[in-house]
Each structure stands twice: as structure tokens, then as C-alpha cells.
Amino acid sequence: MHAVNRRRAFVVLASFLPFARRAFAQANAHISTTDPLVFSFTKGASVMPGRVTLELPLIADTGFSVPMTVRVDSPMTDRDYVKTILLLAERNPVRDACWFYLGPRTARAEVASRIRLNGSQRVVAIAELSDGTFWSAARPVEVREAACTESE
């Protein structure tokens, strides 16, 4: 009787395993959380896809100045706000292009800038919310003329 119950419990648990594994894999699908730069930010926490919108052109004629907008779905109240946004250009010599530190007084979780891209690559935005969760978005950008090349 006891053994049967235990076996049944095992079967039930085992049947959930693939789902659990898939959920875990999806949480960090965008990004390597063991990457030293990402780890320095997330301290090993999982990074979920979603809530972040990254606006970048699909094709940039020049990598010297690429318009970028990052937006996070957050009410930006005293209790619930975006703390930090990291913009990661994966193939740039300096990968952390910019860090934005927001707070409840930043009325909207939206920041725009112009960045440099050293060739076609994926750009990732990771946002840390006040509740300690991390969310991200990634966009591929095709760059016709890379920055960081000699201008002569």
C-alpha cells in the first residue's frame, strides 16, 4: 500500500518535470545569466522575457548612431517601479552600452537614446523592477556600416 502510494507520487511528480524544465528554460531563453556582465547585474536571478519593449531599426545604414527606445510595462508608482535598465550590445567592444537608473519620480518607464553598434548583432535590454524581478527583450539589428572602424 505504502509502496504503491509512493510510486504514484513519483509518477505524478515525474509527469510534471518536463513542464517545470521548460518553464525554467524559457525564463532565461534570451540571455546567459552566467555571463559575467549579466551576473554582475542580476546576481544569478532568472531573467524573464516580456514586459520590456525594445525599439530599434531592423536595418541600420550606419552603426555610428542608431536610434533606440526602451520601454518597460510598469505603473511607476512608489511601490512598483523600474529601478535599472541595462542595454547590452552583444558584439560591441564595450558591451554594456548604457545603464539607466530610474525611480518613482521617473514618470514613465521609457528612455530613448542613440547608440553605436559594431556590426550586425543582437541588442538586449534587461530591466530590474522594484520587486527584484528581471525582465528582458532582445532585437536583432543589421548594421551596414559598423562603428569602431577607422574613419579614414
Binding site: 555610428f64 564595450v94 539607466f100 521617473t106 514613465r108 521609457e110 537614446s113 574613419s151
Partner: protein, 105 residues
Amino acid sequence: MTIARIQLPERIARGDAVEVRVVIQHPMETGFRVDAGKRVARNAIHSLVCRYNGAEVFRATLSPGVAANPYIRFYTRAVDSGELEFWWLDDDGVEGQVRTPIVVL
């Protein structure tokens, strides 16, 4: 000398999300560029802070990954009339500052 410019909407009401746009004239030298056979030393603005009546509302850590003449747009809540102030520091240790009055209706 660095020149910077802050742009705010014309009409700002209390409680509004104010779009703040700032452009700073700065080369943001990457340190990878070669000029006349010599490597140009890195010189980029790395710290940028925005204060609204003395209280910090926005801060950014930049790198040479930001285009020359860095442009940043963000939003802040209009609480009171007063002053919006930007302060920054580059790799050469040169500080910069720009202020603009903000009038809240």
C-alpha cells in the same frame, strides 16, 4: 567647452509626465579610433545625473557605446516649478553642467 541643451514641453501641468530631452556636445571617443597613425584615447561621458529642484530623478551610466553628442530622452513627473539640472563627468575628468527653469502651471 561643452555645450548642452535641454528641451521641455511648452506647457507643463502639475502631475504631468514631462518629456525631458537633453543633448550634450561631446565626441564620446571610443578609444578604438585611429587618427594620423595614433590611437585616440577614450573619452566618453560615463556619468550623467538629472536633478529636479535638487532631488535626483534620473541617472545614467554611459559608455562609448553611446553615439557622439549623446542624446537622452526620458520622463519625469512635474511636481513644482523650479529648476532642472544636468551634471555629467567624462573620462578626462571634465565635469559639465546645464540648467533650465521648469514652469509648472
